[in-house]
Symmetry: C2
């Protein structure tokens, strides 16, 4: 299997994408195809370069461009080339840490949507203590409709049943209260649709239960899902800084910190986004994974391993089967 | 000044409301008027009962009722009595830890909106490290319009200038990215309105900056604002539990924890909602403060002190002056 890796878009540059792919290669067999600036990619690969393919391009799409327009016009942008190659050979996955808008627009205009699915969405695995929770959507769609959220639920169910072998996953709806009548127009409409569906709908989930593992899928408009995960990231990073301040406050604290430092690091690492590394873009006809712009090597490694699982289990075909 | 205290609605019952008011009385002069079950209130007050007024009622509105309907029909519900009394004497504040929906419906139907203000909103003070940040709205309005958010900004500005003496407060907009074109229909429209306004609009604020003090007011639809604060609460409570697990992991960790325990407690306390205790319901013609259902005595004490400041500074008149 080939993984087409867009080497533009990561905050730390080509290095994390190339080294992340090398790390993934130690665990799984696949062919990385790096799409980007050839000399920079080669500089990272050093003497190992013959194990890979490199497709050179100097063009890319950044966060400040209109994604739909850029996807249509920039034929040689790394992400456009990746989508076209994936479509041509039919058996390649795409990994990008670049613009979410461009990745989504490419999915819609180049890969195209799965028949019967009206919107694609990002399914982000949350770092829960108990079990697995996917938050869907985390930013692909703003101003979502109830029927789209229902489709996200269906795709999440198929994904979890196949990739993670979770039978009849629990589907919840992100809301401001647990009671049925709570929420905005969107959540009230979605609640009614989900109640009538064949899914294992367990009702509204409050944002304070985001990481407590109550549901396997938490459905949300992309705006709200994004607010939720970014709030969570912000608080985690703030508290980790605050803890450091406490540790350096006195000599006694420094000594105490020395004792518990490693256990604390492990605890924070269990909530790190790098553990998962990326999120599948569900609903399009190519296997696409979005990595964080701020990804490190570990995040890219884990994103590629996740993407390979997603491809192995032929989730796109399974979703097509479920929709028909 | 009288503070009309709805003694129904707090998860821990009459005790936190009565004892919280007693604590506030040690710092400020006012008359608590407890509205609720007389014998339960008296049981908490014990021998101090002659320093207060008690208005007996057995009726109240809970979270499962349709708030607008209940406000209209339940003439003797504690919150309805509070609103009617506040209106009658014109110089009393209202504190409630009960149903937000009922508080809002009472504001709209009994106190009425300030002329020129189309929606009331809850302005929650966030526990930031640097300076003051109000998140507006945190749950009074679902499906907000851009013009309402602009009005929230104006009310936030008047509140901060008067109650906290912050000159020309920085107004931000909660969004999924800092770029102007990011977001949903609501945030894009609101961005344009705020740009044209006379307020000190500093642009979009990402949810990861909720507690970093970048803006003095963060404007949000009540659904989104509620998702953000509840996510933050959830993560704070989760991490505080996780830390306890780390501390009990080994004897060495227990010893280390003993050393830093107090500093850690202080750190977590600085992020506790109890520090502020409540949020003003801005936009209605009565001085109303909403306390958390899960409030403890400290939270109620601080909510009452905040409410007294809000009344002292005659913020409602100032908002009326600003609107004209």
């Amino acid at each position: 299997m080939k993984i087409l890796i867009d080497t533009y878009g990561a905050d730390r540059g080509e290095e994390v994408l190339v080294m992340g792919a090398l790390r993934a290669l130690e665990k799984r067999d696949f062919t990385p195809v790096f799409i980007g600036n050839k000399s920079k990619i080669q500089a990272e690969l050093k003497d190992k370069k013959d194990q890979f393919e490199i497709i050179h391009t100097d063009e890319f799409i950044d966060n400040n461009e209109d994604p739909a327009r850029a996807i249509r016009r920039k034929k040689n942008a790394s992400i456009v080339m990746a989508y076209n190659m994936a479509k041509e050979d039919g058996n390649s996955g795409i990994l990008s840490a670049g613009s979410t808008g461009a990745l989504l627009a490419g999915g819609l205009f180049l890969a195209k949507r799965i028949e019967g699915i009206r919107r694609a969405c990002l399914a982000t695995s949350l770092p829960t203590k108990n079990g697995v929770t996917l938050l869907m959507d985390t930013g692909a769609n703003m101003d979502t409709k109830a029927e789209y959220l229902e489709e996200f639920g269906l795709m999440g169910k198929v994904y979890l049943e196949n990739v993670l072998a979770i039978k009849n996953p629990k589907i919840g709806l992100l809301n401001v209260g647990v009671e049925e009548h709570k929420g905005n127009k969107l959540t009230k409409e979605t609640y009614k649709l989900l109640e009538k569906s064949n899914m294992n709908f367990i009702g509204n989930i409050e944002a304070r239960d985001l990481l407590t593992g109550k549901a396997n899928v938490i459905l949300a408009d992309g705006f709200d899902g994004n607010i939720a995960i970014k709030t969570a990231e912000g608080i985690l990073s703030l508290l980790s800084k605050e803890l450091k301040d406490v540790f350096y406050k006195s000599l006694a604290n420094k000594i105490a910190a020395g004792i518990i430092k490693n256990d604390l690091k492990d605890m924070f690492a269990s909530y790190s986004a790098d553990k998962v590394g990326g999120a599948p873009l569900l609903g399009v006809k190519s296997y696409v994974y979005k990595a964080h712009g701020s990804s490190n090597q570990e995040a890219i490694e884990n994103a590629i391993l996740g993407l390979l699982d997603y491809m192995d289990k032929k989730v796109i075909e399974k979703i097509e089967g479920e929709i028909r």
